[in-house]
Amino acid sequence: MKRRNEALIFLSAFILTAVLVLLFVFILWLDDGDGLGLMDAPVSERPSMHYVFKTTADPGSLSNASVTPGERYRNSAANIVTAIVTDYRILDTLGEVIVLFLSAAGAGLLMHERKRRISREAGVIVGTAVPLIMFFAVIVGAYIVLHGHLGPGGGFSGGAVLASAFILQFLAKSGPARRRALQFTEAAAGLALLAAGTAGLILEGSFFGNFIAQGELGDLLSSGISLLVYIIIGIKVAAELSALGGDFIGGE
């Protein structure tokens, strides 16, 4: 009886997936060039080229325009994805940070009934290697956070690297994770993010308005509020993920 159920579930799942695949292939087959039209506009004519050229002019008329290092723009982040995430669509990012906070808090709450694990000291090799690795991991993480506006990277990825360093330390040391300090750091970073937005509201008249001078494109101290926001997000994500990792390590 049980075996037959198993086979039935497997078979129906297989059929359902096959139907989905066939449907997709069929749609592709029908697509004679004007199907959904998602891919029709060439990238150079899409509305998001406004972000690339850092202007509101019609992108079709910008064939001779260029954005060059050493100039000042409304947002002079060289990495355009960073400009979108931390400036043009900062409200989305604020919501994202809140969702991350809620999920970390929810996971911590669900693991509330924790048994003390039998603490065991890590071996000599781990105990010796972890401080060394942590040193380099913190440097790399800080680099990624600070260069989010100049190249690939940013607060989320750099924060994850920083958190990996701290989680490594939790693994090596059997003592309890310093939850208090992590929670305080996280709360302070969240408040700092809101304070940055409010400062923009007071000084510039719009929430998260750019109240820091834009440097020249390509400099380390450029891109105004983007750098500040990514540093705050890096600290917050690092604290959050470390607390989460500490919860999971201490949980079982």
Binding site: I9, A65, S66, E96
Partner: protein, 118 residues
């Protein structure tokens, strides 16, 4: 052509994830399937902004907007959000899994015995 292959591979990963979600009973494997699915969706979204012979949307001394074509940066910013949300949902799912394991002593849902089955 390249971008079509990109889209098809992203959707293939989505189908792998759906199949895993439907057939697995071990909660860890269900979460893995969910992550595979979301990876496929992220690939699909990035593929929508792909352009052939285009550069990553970062302005440097040699790569400038105007002289070079960039891929669409907007889906990439969206995917950044999507990755973070995926991480959050995975964390909550793992916490729920841990709770289920403590209560029942098994990672498998839907049946009480035969815990070694997938």
């Amino acid at each position: 052509m390249e971008s079509t292959a990109f889209i098809i591979s992203g959707l293939a990963i989505v189908f792998v994830g759906i199949f895993g979600l439907l057939t697995r009973r071990n909660l860890i494997r269900v979460l893995l399937s969910l992550n595979i699915l979301s990876t496929g969706v992220n690939l699909f979204l990035v593929a929508l902004g792909y352009a052939e012979n285009a550069k990553a949307p970062i302005i440097t001394e040699t790569v400038r907007a105007g002289s070079e074509m960039f891929t669409d940066p907007l889906p990439q910013a969206l995917v950044l959000t999507s990755i973070v949300i995926g991480l959050g949902s995975t964390a909550v799912g793992l916490a729920l899994t841990l709770r289920h394991y403590r209560r029942t002593g098994s990672l498998v849902i839907g049946k009480e015995e035969d815990t070694d089955a997938a």
